[in-house]
C-alpha cells in the first residue's frame, strides 16, 4: 500500500512538473537593432 502511495505521489509530482514546464514562459532575444519596413514601390518592381 505504501509503495502504491509513493508511486502515485511520484506520478503526480512528475505531472505537475510537466505541466509547469509546458506552460512556462520563454526567454528569447528580441531584435537588437532595426525594424520592419513596408514593401512598397521600388521593392515590388
Amino acid at each position: 500500500m505504501a509503495l502504491l502511495r509513493r508511486a502515485l505521489a511520484a506520478v503526480g509530482i512528475a505531472g505537475i512538473i510537466a505541466v509547469v514546464l509546458r506552460l512556462r514562459g520563454s526567454g528569447g532575444t528580441p531584435p537588437q537593432s532595426g525594424g520592419w519596413r513596408e514593401l512598397s514601390g521600388p521593392d515590388l518592381r
Binding site: 526567454g27 528569447g28 532575444t29 532595426g34 514593401l39
Partner: protein, 325 residues
C-alpha cells in the same frame, strides 16, 4: 470570368466581394450550406452575384473553396473532372494532402488546383518565394503564423495545436510532437514577439516541392498558455468574432555569394480579409492563364511573387521586410 465561391463565411464573403469588384468578372456564384448567410452575402454583392443550391463546378470557370477544409477535396475532384480551375484556402494537413493528390489528374486536364491560397498558407508561400529570390541558394525556410480568421479558422488553430507537426529536415520528413520547438518569433508591429510552437500546419508540404534543394522547412503557430493548456480539450468557448489582427513571419536562410544570409519578410492584417483577397486574386490570376504551372500546387509554385505582391498591395494587403539584426 465566372467564379463559384463555396463558403460565404469570413473568407468566402471577402473573396466574393473582391471578385464582384473586378471588372473582368462576369458573374459570381455563391454557395453556402447556411442558406440565410448565403442569401445575405448575395444580396450585399449586387446584380452580378447569384446564389446556388448545390456547388456545381460546371457553372463556373474557376471554383474558390472557402468552406471548412474537410469539404474541399470532394468539390475540387468534381471541378478537376469537369476541367475547371480550383482555388482552395485549405489550412489543414489532411485537406492539403488530399488536394495535392489531385496533381496528376489536374495536370493531365490542363487545369490548376491552387492549394492553400489564403493568408497562411498562401501569402506565406508567396513571401517565401520573394525572399528566396534575394538569395543564390535557399537552405532553410521557417514560417510562423499568428492569429485566426473566422470561426472555422479558429477551430482549425485549436485542432492544429494538438496535431503532429511535420518538419522537413535533412531532405526527409520528420514528425514532431505538438507544442514542441518553442521559439520566440517577432512579427511586424503591432503584434511584436510571440512564443510559437510546432503544430499540424501544411506549409512545409506546399513549400518543399517549390524549393528542391532546401534542407529545412518548419512551420510554427503562435499560442498563448491557455491555448496550449486547452489544446487537448474540445473548444471550451465559442470562437471569437472575426476581425482581430493576425500576422505572418517568413524567414529564409541561404547563401548570397560567399556569405550565409537571412531574409525576413512578414505581413500583418485581419487574416480573413487577407485570405479572401489572396484567394480572389489567385482565382483572377489562374483564370487569366497567368499561373506558372498546371496541376495541384501551392502559391510558391504557381505565381510570380513580385507582380502578385504588387497587386495584393494595391488591394490593401501589404508585406513588410525586417531590416536589422
Amino acid at each position: 470570368m465566372r467564379a463559384l465561391v463555396c463558403g460565404a463565411g469570413a473568407v468566402g464573403a471577402r473573396a466574393a466581394r473582391y471578385l464582384v469588384a473586378d471588372a473582368g468578372t462576369e458573374q459570381v456564384l455563391v454557395h453556402d450550406t447556411d442558406r440565410k448567410r448565403q442569401a445575405a452575402v448575395v444580396a450585399s454583392l449586387g446584380d452580378r452575384a447569384t446564389g446556388l443550391d448545390q456547388p456545381d463546378p460546371t457553372t463556373a470557370d474557376v471554383v474558390v473553396l472557402a468552406s471548412p477544409a474537410a469539404r474541399h477535396a470532394a468539390v475540387a475532384r468534381a471541378a478537376v473532372r469537369a476541367g475547371r480551375h480550383v482555388v482552395s484556402v485549405a489550412d489543414s494537413v489532411g485537406a492539403v494532402e488530399d488536394l495535392l493528390d489531385l496533381h496528376a489528374e489536374a495536370h493531365e486536364r490542363g487545369v490548376v488546383v491552387a492549394v492553400g491560397a489564403g493568408f497562411g498558407p498562401g501569402l506565406s508561400c508567396v513571401l517565401a518565394c520573394h525572399a528566396a529570390a534575394e538569395l543564390d541558394t535557399v537552405e532553410e525556410i521557417h514560417i510562423a503564423h499568428h492569429g485566426t480568421g473566422g470561426p472555422a479558422c479558429a477551430r482549425q488553430h485549436h485542432s492544429a495545436l494538438r496535431g503532429v507537426g511535420l518538419d522537413w529536415r535533412d531532405h526527409a520528413w520528420r514528425r514532431r510532437p505538438p507544442g514542441s520547438g518553442r521559439e520566440l518569433c517577432f512579427f511586424p508591429d503591432p503584434i511584436g514577439g510571440f512564443d510559437c510552437y510546432r503544430a499540424a500546419l501544411p506549409d512545409a508540404l506546399l513549400l518543399v516541392p517549390s524549393f528542391p534543394g532546401v534542407s529545412r522547412v518548419t512551420a510554427r503557430l503562435a499560442a498563448t498558455r491557455r491555448d496550449r493548456f486547452t489544446a487537448g480539450l474540445p473548444m471550451l468557448r465559442p470562437p471569437h468574432v472575426e476581425g482581430r489582427i493576425g500576422g505572418l513571419r517568413v524567414e529564409v536562410r541561404g547563401r548570397r555569394g560567399r556569405s550565409y544570409d537571412t531574409v525576413v519578410l512578414g505581413a500583418v492584417d485581419r487574416p480573413a480579409v487577407a485570405a479572401g483577397t489572396v484567394a480572389a486574386l489567385t482565382a483572377r490570376w489562374v483564370a487569366d492563364g497567368r499561373a506558372d504551372a498546371t496541376g495541384a500546387a501551392g502559391l510558391a509554385t504557381l505565381v510570380e511573387p513580385l507582380p502578385f505582391l504588387h497587386e495584393l498591395a494595391r488591394a490593401g494587403v501589404r508585406a513588410a521586410v525586417f531590416e536589422g539584426n
